[in-house]
């Protein structure tokens, strides 16, 4: 471990020290506000530390980590999302349950796990990062243990995630058996010809895919997602939807690009099929969904189906578009879940779409943010989602993935229906007009999100240039 290693690990060290310090604070006094303030500070610090790291990239901390611009971008996204989720969580958690402070400990562990995933280039760091993230997520999902929903979601998540981890491990084991290396680059160099992978390696990859596909909730590993989305507290759902998925996508991309998986026909076809099926399944399932969280879960299945296109494109443009897409997806999803969690605070549970009836007349700002989020998810211009989809499709068609692009288009149409349904519901008048006020910080989060969505949607060049210039 050199000094440079430590500098480059600064964000991680900050994120890792946060749980310890919070724990120590708790031993002195249980004060949620202190913990909250400290959490925000730590996220802020770790975000700033990214700029400290930036000059030294790319830096490899053998054998587990590689800190390059790609991971730095994902880190930035994760920490930014973590910051916003902290605010949402505080507003949400401070109103319910007991032992609120531990929540932030776990939140940091989750963020740490996700960050590790982003920089991992070794099976061990991959596995540990994934598990750190998963275990914290089990806890967070079931955090409000007085609710049976939470517990049910937690149990389901735990069981299926463990199964997926077992598959993942078994797959890693097989790959390790075949190649004798656990480092991505090592694996890649030991693979030999990609056009004819040995069956054991293919089996290994498929089992690895289970682990990744489970986290990204690709069909057929998607079934847990709606239940967990629904059962988890709203900010936690936001966490799963953004940080967890973003981090897993990051490692999936890194691994896939390192081994050049798109060059293997079997993998290519299988992933294309999964992509297309995920798009259709997700969107079709969301169609009649009356529960907003479940609907977003299904929509996220579809979105990650879209994102597979970037993997299959196998080009730098694919990676850039993936980063842009995930950034815009995260900001958008945060918008949606931000509203859900803020509303859940104000007026009980805000799961059902019916709860949003007439929101426009109760709280126009929230309704507009929600509409923006929905339109962004649907990929309508002026929003981030449009540009993201544009980059994605462009990367796809540049690599000749017309079929995938075409099914993306069809699915965008299907998805419109349910996104619009949410929007429409908010604009229908309902008789029961409860004025709802959000805390200042909540409003601030929404403002940030709106600016983010619109900024990415109108002036995407800045961000996409940053993405392009870094890698």
């Amino acid at each position: 471990m050199t000094a440079l290693d430590f500098i480059c690990l600064a964000p991680f060290l900050l994120l890792a020290s946060a749980p310890i310090i919070i724990m120590l604070t708790i031993t002195i006094t249980r004060n949620i506000k202190v913990v909250y303030g400290f959490s925000l500070l730590m996220f802020l610090l770790s975000f700033i530390s990214l700029f400290i790291v930036a000059p030294y990239i790319p830096h490899v901390i053998a054998p587990l980590f590689i800190i390059d611009s790609y991971s730095l971008l994902f880190l930035a996204i994760i920490i930014f999302a973590g910051f916003l989720i902290t605010i949402l969580s505080y507003i949400y958690i401070s109103q319910q349950g007991d032992d609120k402070e531990e929540y932030f400990i776990i939140l940091f562990v989750a963020a740490l796990g996700a960050s590790v995933l982003v920089v991992a280039n070794h099976f061990i760091s991959f596995f540990l990062g994934l598990e750190t993230l998963s275990i914290s997520l089990y806890i967070l999902v079931a955090y409000i243990k007085t609710r049976s929903y939470s517990i049910e979601a937690g149990v389901k998540f735990l069981v299926i995630a463990s199964v997926a981890s077992a598959f993942l491990l078994f797959g890693m084991g097989l790959i390790y058996t075949a190649t004798g290396s656990m480092n991505f680059k090592g694996v890649a160099s030991a693979l030999g010809s990609l056009h004819a992978l040995s069956p054991i390696l293919l089996t290994g990859f498929v089992m690895l895919l289970v682990g990744i596909g489970f986290k990204l909730a690709l069909v057929p590993f998607h079934m847990w997602l709606p239940d967990v989305y629904q059962g988890a507290p709203a900010p936690v759902t936001a966490l799963i939807a953004t940080i967890s998925k973003g981090a897993v996508l990051a490692i999936a991309l890194r691994f896939f690009m390192d081994i050049q998986g798109f060059n293997n026909q079997a993998i290519f076809i299988a992933l294309s099929a999964i992509a297309i099926i995920s798009m259709f399944t997700g969107n079709l399932l969301a169609l009649n969904q009356g529960n907003l969280k479940r609907m977003l879960a299904y929509s996220s299945i579809a979105h990650f189906g879209y994102l597979l296109i970037t993997l299959l494109a196998g080009s730098t443009e694919g990676i850039h578009s993936a980063i842009f897409y995930i950034a815009s997806y995260i900001i958008t999803t945060l918008g949606a879940f931000g509203i859900i969690s803020l509303l859940s605070v104000c007026s009980g549970n805000a799961d059902s779409i019916d709860d949003y009836k007439g929101l426009f007349y109760k709280n126009p700002f929230m309704a507009i943010v929600m509409s923006l989020a929905m339109l962004s998810l649907a990929g309508i211009p002026l929003t981030a989602g449009f540009i993201a989809k544009f980059y994605l499709v462009l990367a796809g068609v540049k690599s000749g993935l017309w079929l995938l692009a075409f099914s993306l288009v069809i699915n965008s149409v299907i998805s419109l229906y349910y996104y619009l349904r949410v929007v429409t519901t908010m604009f229908t008048t309902s008789d029961q007009v409860k004025p709802s006020t959000i805390p200042l910080m909540g409003n601030l989060v929404l403002v940030v999100i709106v600016i983010g969505i619109l900024f990415l949607g109108i002036l995407p060049a800045w961000v996409s240039d940053i993405i392009a210039s870094l890698s």
């Binding site: 598990e131 275990i135 069981v159 077992a166 390790y176």
Partner: protein, 106 residues
């Protein structure tokens, strides 16, 4: 020492994995499901150890230790969840956990 072919050894691990899997798919008792998962994780660890000794590297065993750690953490959280589940649902039947759904979904 052992001269059994690598194929058989991995297959043995695979069989264990499948036994765990079948147990998971068949048992409704959540505790048994957790046990099955332990079998699966263990078998995955076994693969690493086998491969590690095949390649004469310590890495396989290191990985096993991490798997062990994770399994322990998972089990502890899992068992805690089972306690809560029993508390809420008054049963260990995994199939009883189906309250999360929308009205449109049967």
């Amino acid at each position: 020492m052992v001269t059994v072919s690598l194929e058989v050894q991995i297959l043995f691990a695979g069989l264990l994995f499948l036994i765990g899997l079948v147990g998971l798919l068949v048992r409704r008792n959540i505790i048994f499901m957790l046990m099955s998962i332990e079998i699966m994780l263990n078998s995955a660890g076994l693969v690493f150890v086998i491969a590690g000794s095949h390649w004469a590297q310590a890495d396989g065993q290191v990985m096993f230790i991490f798997i062990l750690t994770v399994a322990a953490a998972e089990v502890s959280v899992g068992l805690a969840l089972i306690l809560q589940m029993y508390h809420h649902f008054k049963t260990l039947d995994a199939d009883a956990l189906n309250t999360l759904r929308d009205k449109n979904e049967r």
